[in-house]
């Protein structure tokens, strides 16, 4: 994942993926950061997607349709074998996609690089001994640029 660098005429959002560099592989952590980093473009899309994907559907007051069922399914033991991962991911990703499309309609004229085109599960690893699941997701904007997000998820395999 790389940092967005062109802010001319753009609106910015708080950057919550700390440690982002322009090129290369780096350890990324989530948080508000110390210096108030901001981002724009595809980075916003990746953040939005990650937040919605990791938010439990129904957990946001007054907004019952925001979020996805992925973590709920994980906690309920819905992922028992590796084959469960793509199915649950697809369901949750579709929920996120619908929400982001509605948000884009609400927001009016968003630039194409701030609108989601697709989220593809590139790879995943389920380590049963450590109750650990890792997702590698490619987020692509309508403008064609993309970012890859790694989502580590602790899983209690029952």
């Amino acid at each position: 994942m790389s940092a967005s660098i062109d802010y001319t005429g753009r609106t910015v959002d708080i950057l919550i993926f700390q440690g982002v560099k322009e090129t290369g592989n780096h350890l990324i952590e989530t948080g508000f950061g110390e210096a108030g980093y901001v981002c724009t473009g595809i980075q916003k899309v990746a953040q939005t997607w990650a937040i919605l994907f990791m938010t439990d559907l129904g957990s946001v007051m007054n907004k019952p349709t925001r979020g996805s069922t992925f973590l709920l399914t994980v906690r309920r033991g819905g992922i028992q074998v590796e084959e469960d991962v793509p199915a649950e991911f697809a369901r949750a990703a579709e929920q996120v996609r619908r929400t982001m499309e509605l948000d884009a309609v609400d927001a009016g004229a968003l630039p194409d690089d701030e609108r989601l085109d697709e989220a593809i599960l590139l790879d995943y690893t389920l380590i049963r001994e450590q109750s650990f699941l890792s997702l590698k997701v490619r987020i692509k904007s309508l403008a064609g640029d993309a970012r890859v997000v790694f989502l580590p998820v602790p899983v209690a395999i029952r």
């Binding site: 959002d13 724009t40 916003k44 968003l110």
Partner: protein, 550 residues
Amino acid sequence: MATTSDLSFSDVSETLIDQAEEYLVNFLQEQFPSRDFSKGRVTRELVINIAAELHAINREDIDRLLKSFSPVVIAQDPAAADPDIVDAVYGNYGVTRYDGNKAYGSVAIIISDLITTAVPDTTIFTSNGLAYTVAQAYVGVTTADAVLTSSERLIEERPDGTYVFTVPVIAADVGEAYRAKRGARFTASPAVTGTIDIEAASDFEGGTDAETNAELVERTQQGIAPKVFSGRAQVSSLFQDQYPQLVNLSQVGLGDAEMLRDRDNIFEMSTGGKSDLYVQTADVPEEVVVVKECTYLGLNQWQATIGRDDAPGFYLVNAVVRHNTTSFVGSLAVVSETRGLDLTMETDWVHDLTGMVQGAYSRYQTAVVKFTDPETPAATLVGAKANYDFYILRLPSIKTLHDLTINRPRRPQNGDYLVRAAVPALAYVSLEIQYRSVTTLPSEASIAQAIASRINALGFTIGRLPLALVIDAAQGALESGGTYTFTPINMYAEIYPPDTTPYGKITISDVNQLTVPDLPERGVSQRTTVFYLPVSAIDVKLKPMSVKAI
């Protein structure tokens, strides 16, 4: 007094949160045009959304304060004001909310055998889903010698061969709903050994709801007047202050046709200086049981005197039964009832009044009651004594208010204010409500309660009981569609004027409106008379209506 907010997120509407979110977004967007606050962005999802929830709850808090911070805004919409803040505001004027009180009375525990029977202090008596408790443990004992304290209750034989003892109980909570009527069935938990039945020995007393904001506002507005015997506003203020449960008050004085006491002179001219204060101290009169020692007159006839302290200002003797009779219907036949006045001086002064028209339903009223007991043993000698239970209908606290008028420091030097229970117009209503089969219906009892609450609040205001009010109250308790009150409905009322003896009661009946006759010379008019409509006097029938499917 509320010092911190007790609001939770559930108290805040979704609309208010949405408005708060929109407000914050617009506000921040103006301040920071380069920031992206659209949905899905981190700032919106993780900052603004949460801030909006907190903003909304603060807004709700402020709104409540704005609706409650002064007597003026409270009076504009009392229902919207926060009760705790209202209490604090009116506390500044020395006005305290009336918290309501708990109903209390006695339950008669009917047992099969004459054996010592315990009622633990953990016993819960229940009637119609409402709980009543005992203040202490009681034990029913078999001999009078065993009654040493108030916790020992003498078991007495009933005419049917079973046994009974009574136990005082008090409602678990405040409220009118807890006023059990005589004969109301109770259950006990844990069960009392050997019990055949448990019922209210007499009508329960007390049991008033806590004052609402609207009622507090109304009382306070009256209370701004000085609390003294003077003009009508001042006397009303005094009575409301001394007896917050007062439902209605009507003051008759100089120039009013109903004022008879100031015309006791050879010219029958009003001389002023006197006032009759007709009070309604409860929604409906209550029945109390008074045990009287009666004297045998011969030929199965007995006589007792109801003293002025037995049930001050009482309306009617509803029933006379042999002592400890419960579960009865009707009464021993009352041969005659002669009302009188006991004007014995209690302080340094007594009211100036003559005759029952001037003194009926006041604290001075007495009655001599003669009745027949056909089961009097043949060997009973004339002059023999026996106890009988008198079930007497009366308003509570007539003496409490009367005492204000004879208290030397408080009473006016130049006025004679006589407290009297409102002349009773005991009403009865029978109505039929038709409904479609798909309609959700409340119980007949809750419809009757809605009607009773509406009518009993009328007081002296209109002197009428209109059909429209009955229908409106009934329909208010029902779903708006699919029901209607079938008209005409049957209504009648029995008015007991101060001179009921010897002239008799007045019965009024009409399908559209019951109207209090204007008979000031008999003490009956809109200014003196109140319609009482207890729930037990309302017959509600629910009937499915025949309709075709569409």
